[in-house]
Amino acid sequence: MTFIAPFALGLAALAAPIVILYMLRSRRARRPVSSTMLWDVGRRSVSANAPWQPLRFSWLLLLQLLALALVVLAVARPARPTAVPLGDHTVLIIDTSASMQADDGGRNRLESAKRQALKSVGQLSPGKRMSVVEAGPRARVVLSGSTDRRAIVEAISSLRPTDGPTDAGGAFALGSSLETPDTPTVLHFYSDGGVRPEDRDAPGSLVHIPIGSPAGNVAIGRLSVAPKGAGWDVFVRIVNAGSARVDAALVLEVDGGEVARESVRLDPQGARDTTMSISRTGGGRLTARLENVRAAPGTVGDARTALVNGLAVDDTASATLDRGSGLRVLLMTPGNVFLESLLRSIPGSEVSVGEAVAPARGFTLAIYDRVTPPDTLEAPSLVIAASKAPGLTVTGSVEKPVVDFLQPREPIVEQVDLSRLAIRIAKRIRTEVLRPIVAAGDDPMLAVGVPGGRRMAYLAFDLRESNLPVQVAFPLLLGNLVSWLTRGEGPDRAALVAGNSLPLRVPGRATSFSVELPGGFKVERPAGRAVFDETDRAGFYRVRYLLGKASLGEETFAVNVPGSETSLSPRPVTGKLEGRDRPGLRLSGLRAWGPGFLAAALVVLLAEWWLAHGRPGAGQLRRRTSPAAPGLERNRRPREEALP
């Protein structure tokens, strides 16, 4: 056994003044009388010349000393070692991503994680340090290397959930950076495991404390819009990450007014793509929302009672109806009506079509459909079924390839369903430069890369030799590809997720810009800082560019919950307690017994009070135990013994 606060044992010295006061104490018994009016006759103390009384046995003194001992023990917090792996320095990394808002037995997962972390704080040995790192969209150190329990508790309590993903890799890096050579450090990661695959292999000395239990969830996985005539086509992908068949209502609203509604039924672990048309000539704010999500009739067994929609925040997605993207596309093709019509549907796009290779300089995007591109690309390019392209070699063809691989967590194919894709024939390519995104066996069907400093995507099959153009996945995949190919340094405007920086286009004359956050709160930043990344919440961010007080224009960004947060099934993060054998690494915590001592002290104090005040005949006991010290009878005698 050891003590968490051994210095508190010094409080035991208070026993000395208690005993001294007992010996010095005036032995003046309190006696109730009918009236004191006849007793104002003299106050000379008969014992004034004997201030020190011999210490005699007294139950009251014994109980008081026992109570003091218990209080001292409670403050000193005796503790026993436990198997909790706490190091000399323990970094508590707490996941604040959107999935941590999921219901976890009456509270959300973040609250559960904070409780677990606070338990670890309670087991912290004296002199040991703790740090707190938030693993939200942007990892940050909340508290660095503190031994102050109150500060640690406050740091943990201050964490709030975000609508963004988990930057686990950044958090692990931050946590590791807090380690010093002479202080063995252990990282505790409190998370439901919703992290990127590359972050699953955590650094050494990390312990993953899994949070949450499996739950179903229904989410709007993707929302995109395209102008169609005077109106808009809205593409929505709804995902059911649960084990129950689910019914729901999909509602579209523009600027707060409902414009469309559709009932949907989703199979377990299934998704549904739907296209809805809205007739609206102007722009606006589009919100898609799932309502009345419930288990479908006929659902039986555990699936019927299971939680079908554990996370509410991803039931809503938003997009801006904006026709002015300024996209200039050079399409070189022998003829492809699907491709051409789809490109022309991109808001504000300007499509130039030709059959032969043409200079692409000045275009935002060049598309070579069955046309061989130049060796040096002049613009970001999409190459489709060409027999030659930079960064790859066409070695032959493959018939009826079956797509069996999609790069996980890849934004280009995120929420793109290629399970029903059928291809008659495709080019067989080999490449060391491009990264396969979609593949059939060893044959890449879609690969992307940056050969020669230009972004390029290679689609290995002729669209006409597949059923892709007639699937909902086609506009989604092409939209993702265009976004990736034409993206500047900032993120894609149409696919912003919580935690992304807003791709601001701050006018050169602007002195500042203000941002109205989804909750209505406004912040203002100087124009010199043309980055705004305080996007922890999903919703609309309205940005106004200012010259002094004058407005130079405004734009609105839609920020959504990332699809990586849809699945609520906790997944393990592989941690390795590296250095378990390292000298100085303490892999045990302490479990304190303090509260029990406090309760016992309270009981003893109550017993002391009862003995002194309330128990009939207490005076007899006091006299019996301390016959020569009537002064210890400081209290009212029982009624039958009352003296004047």
């Binding site: 005036s26 032995r27 003046r28 018994a29 309190r30 006696r31 109730p32 009388v33 009918s34 009236s35 004191t36 009016m37 006849l38 007793w39 104002d40 006759v41 003299g42 106050r43 000379r44 103390s45 008969v46 014992s47 009537p630 002064g631 009212r636 009624r639 039958e640 013994e641 009352a642 003296l643 004047p644």
Partner: protein
């Protein structure tokens, strides 16, 4: 269990309240009236009520009307008798506590009065006021009066001064019997307010420990009614000084009473109440 034993009640029925002046009354009783000069002049009849002295039933009138009637004489009207019992917390002090003998004394006075044909109202004074009973009439209600008294418990601060004042402010003459330890600074005002126009009697109840305290060592005495504390050292000198103050207090109370025509009697809480009534109080002319 009744406050008073049957044998004692029976012996009380031979006693009557001693009144020294003529009193105004309304019903048949045994007190002399200032309105009527003779005690044998016939005044009126009234119907018999339970508790009335059956010896006063007019047999001939009752036989004629087939109902019982009482013959009233001019000189024998009843008086209202108000018995004020000090119910403050100090009456719970002493060994034995003063409250029980005080209740028995009050009950005995009530019984004597009711047997004498007087009407009786009981007051229990505490906390600057009093709790009062209904009027009891006739011997038959003596047990009701005892039951009412028996339920009272000592508690609270002093109240006899204000109780007596409020009774006197009613402006009605009668007999007031005060049973109290008078251990409050305003005892003189209490006695002064008891003085005529009505008749009054004071039964001063103290415990043996109050009359002869046996204390040792340094003590903090706590006034049970006010919470005031006084530190004393129970030396022989201090105890002697206390006894001197007590004697002066008792003498002062007795003198204040007798000088105002108030009958005074002292009772110890361990005294036998029967002995008090049959000997001491007769000697003190509290009863006759």
């Amino acid at each position: 269990m009744a406050l008073l034993e049957p044998a004692f009640l029976e012996s009380l029925e031979r006693l009557a309240l001693a009144t020294r002046t003529r009193l105004l009354g309304f019903f048949a009783g045994e007190h002399r009236s200032r309105r009527f000069g003779s005690s044998v002049d016939f005044a009126d009849y009234r119907e018999y009520r339970p508790g009335d002295d059956f010896r006063r039933i007019d047999v001939s009138l009752s036989a004629r009307l087939d109902r019982l009637f009482l013959k009233l004489f001019e000189a024998e009207e009843d008086v209202p008798v108000r018995i004020v019992l000090d119910g403050s917390a100090s009456m719970g002090q002493g060994l034995p506590a003063k409250m029980l003998p005080a209740q028995r004394i009050a009950a005995a006075f009530a019984h004597v009065s009711l047997v004498g044909g007087d009407r009786v109202r009981l007051y229990v004074a505490r906390d600057g006021g009093s709790e009062m009973s209904r009027w009891f009439r006739g011997k038959g209600e003596s047990f009701d009066a005892m039951a009412w008294l028996e339920q009272r418990r000592p508690a609270g601060g002093p109240g006899v001064r204000d109780a007596v004042r409020s009774i006197r402010e009613e402006g009605r003459a009668g007999v007031i019997v005060l049973v109290s330890d008078l251990l409050e600074p305003s005892w003189e005002e209490t006695v002064r307010r008891l003085a005529p126009p009505g008749e009054a009697a004071v039964v001063h109840v103290l415990s043996p420990e109050e009359l002869a305290p046996e204390l040792e060592g340094d003590l903090t005495l706590v006034d049970v009614e006010t919470g005031a504390e006084t530190e004393v050292s129970a030396s022989p000198e201090i105890l002697a000084a206390y006894r001197r103050r007590l004697d002066a207090f008792l003498a002062g109370v007795r003198s204040a009473c007798t000088s105002r025509g108030i009958v005074y009697g002292l009772a110890k809480s361990n005294d036998d109440v029967a002995e008090l009534f049959l000997r001491s109080f007769r000697r003190e002319r509290l009863v006759r």
